[in-house]
Symmetry: C2
Subunit: 337 residues, 2 copies
């Protein structure tokens, strides 16, 4: 009897325990905002409404998990791209690091301009100069060696304005969005004009996106046996430019499925947004990050030499793309230190 009463109490407590945990869980769910760095403005509501309708079993807009593919541009969409692409900052630092072995660079453009910090002359060297810089600093070594160079640099380099590692100059609202989508069965991909092997060493740690979910520009590589070790050697030849009309091509080559959501910030993302959202009757989502916050980050759109947002901004309204006003819609820009 004594025993059975104890057990009775046990069962009762257990039942009460379960009930109260259920209550706690429900209330926690109601209170936990998956997007706390987004203000309660239209973009946040649009994101949540889209995710709810494509994940709700039985809804006419329901999308099965394997088809919940979301693609994100990187520069200007997930992290800062001004005053210069981070990958260009890397290339300039590489030129300085390699300069002692190349005394001829002191008198050769575009290297001379880099070494003298003469950005105007560097800009005047145009795309030809830029491609030469990229090839000099990104090719002529194995993929393993390049990975090490990138990893060493990204760990130590600092943004001159914010005095923080570049990997901390990522947008907190976008980190929350990536996590929110993944929690809802989405597979998140990066589709960037940046070099795929410049991104892969760090994006998993920073964005939670594994290497195989990164699409980017690339140079050609060649398989070479070096003694008994197989290597891939990086050749100074462009393989693929993952920008503008190249983005749908890259998405199709590497992912092989049409995304249902795309996030960008510039005309370089225009065709990716078209490819993603103008695809028939099922629910789609397109978003443009509009850089409107000179104080907390930068303000630019139509009149910038890169990251230009012009025709995509004009098209947004008709296409139904959500435009994020960074200043008004984001409570916080970067992760807290």
């Amino acid at each position: 009897m004594f025993e059975s009463i104890n057990i009775l109490n046990l069962v009762r407590s257990a039942a009460l325990g379960i009930a109260s945990s259920l209550i706690v869980a429900a209330s926690a769910q109601a209170q936990t905002d998956p997007l706390p760095s987004w203000n309660d403005t239209a973009p946040k509501a649009a994101i949540v409404a889209f995710v709810e309708k494509v994940t709700k079993q039985g809804s006419p807009d329901f999308v099965p998990e394997p088809e919940r593919i979301a693609v994100f541009d990187n520069d200007g969409t997930l992290w800062v791209e001004h005053p210069m692409y981070t990958q260009l900052a890397f290339a300039l630092d590489r030129v300085k690091a390699l300069a002692p072995d190349h005394p001829e660079w002191k008198d050769t453009q575009p290297y001379k301009a880099v070494l003298e910090g003469d950005m105007e002359t560097l800009a005047a060297s145009g795309e030809k100069g830029l491609v030469e810089l990229i090839m000099t600093t990104h090719a002529g070594m194995t993929t393993e060696d390049f990975k090490k160079v990138v990893t060493d640099w990204i760990t130590t380099a600092r943004d001159p304005r914010f005095k923080r590692p570049y990997t901390e100059l990522v947008y907190q609202p976008m980190l929350e969005l990536l996590a929110y989508l993944r929690a809802n069965g989405f597979k998140t991909f990066i589709v960037s004009g940046g070099g795929v092997e410049f991104m892969r060493p760090w994006v998993d740690q920073v964005y939670g996106v594994p290497p195989e979910q990164v699409v980017g520009s690339s140079i050609k590589t060649e398989f070479r046996m070096r003694d008994d070790t197989p290597t891939l050697y990086r050749l100074p030849q462009v393989n693929f430019i993952d920008d503008k009309a190249g983005k749908p091509v890259g998405i199709n080559e590497q992912i092989g499925l049409r995304p249902i959501a795309a996030f960008g910030n510039s005309d370089g993302d225009f065709e990716m947004l078209q490819w993603t959202t103008m695809a028939g009757p099922t629910a789609r989502f397109g978003m443009l990050i509009h850089h409107t916050d000179a104080e907390r980050e930068y303000a630019y759109d139509r009149n910038t030499s890169f990251g230009r947002l012009d025709k995509a901004l004009d098209a947004a309204s008709n296409a139904g793309w959500v435009v994020v006003d960074m200043k008004a819609d984001w409570k916080q820009i970067f992760p807290s230190k």
Copy 2:
């Protein structure tokens, strides 16, 4: 009192219920063989030993889940490749289907040979003839249209010898192996010389490999707006050949991680096996399927015009690659009808 006794019984039954389910589960685990179509010979033991050591937390060979990448060739490794690659059978059928719109083909090689079933003349047209056939049948349409053509064909075509759909001429032991690896936290990829867009429409259903985990050969595509619809148009130009030394290149471009296990059957997989297994101190696994069973499937190795297994077979012993003797090591070749 009555109530409390009932509850007591309930608790007792529940406790017994849990205990007995645990016993059932443990005994089911001991009895369930994840590779039932493999005979108990050396290859099966090698697979199980490898999987156990890389998945055992604390083991010196432990590999974290995100790095458990396994790559599989397709033709001759996952499905039958003789007497001709299935994709070639598809191309020949396409020529016949398109012939009414091309009366000139009756007098033009290599089409004439195809239409007359003259395989000798077709073979004599060499790589040039083959590439022309592929471009005629695989390009000149959107990716959506090509997907539909492939899907229609693969659903209806039958292998002439086995009288079964090609998607049923997959190797049952390899299906089990794919599932076994995935159950142990591996991500399984196909890395095939075949066309990536020829495989993607059906590999998920057949192998459980989603489109984004398929690496293959490709032709160039171009983004085109057709009225208000974004399309990718397939151009008659080779983009990438995912064979031999191209396989490590394709793996690096699309996956960006070095696999820890590779499965092939021919010299076309030689460099992929090198790239995977000759990579330093951590545990690696390489396997070659040796076609030795003329009765149940086919027997060929050094003296075949395609799917040739020659230098990779010579290298296997030194490299520590496991060679599967289909006749001796596989209990069953194809899935039961």
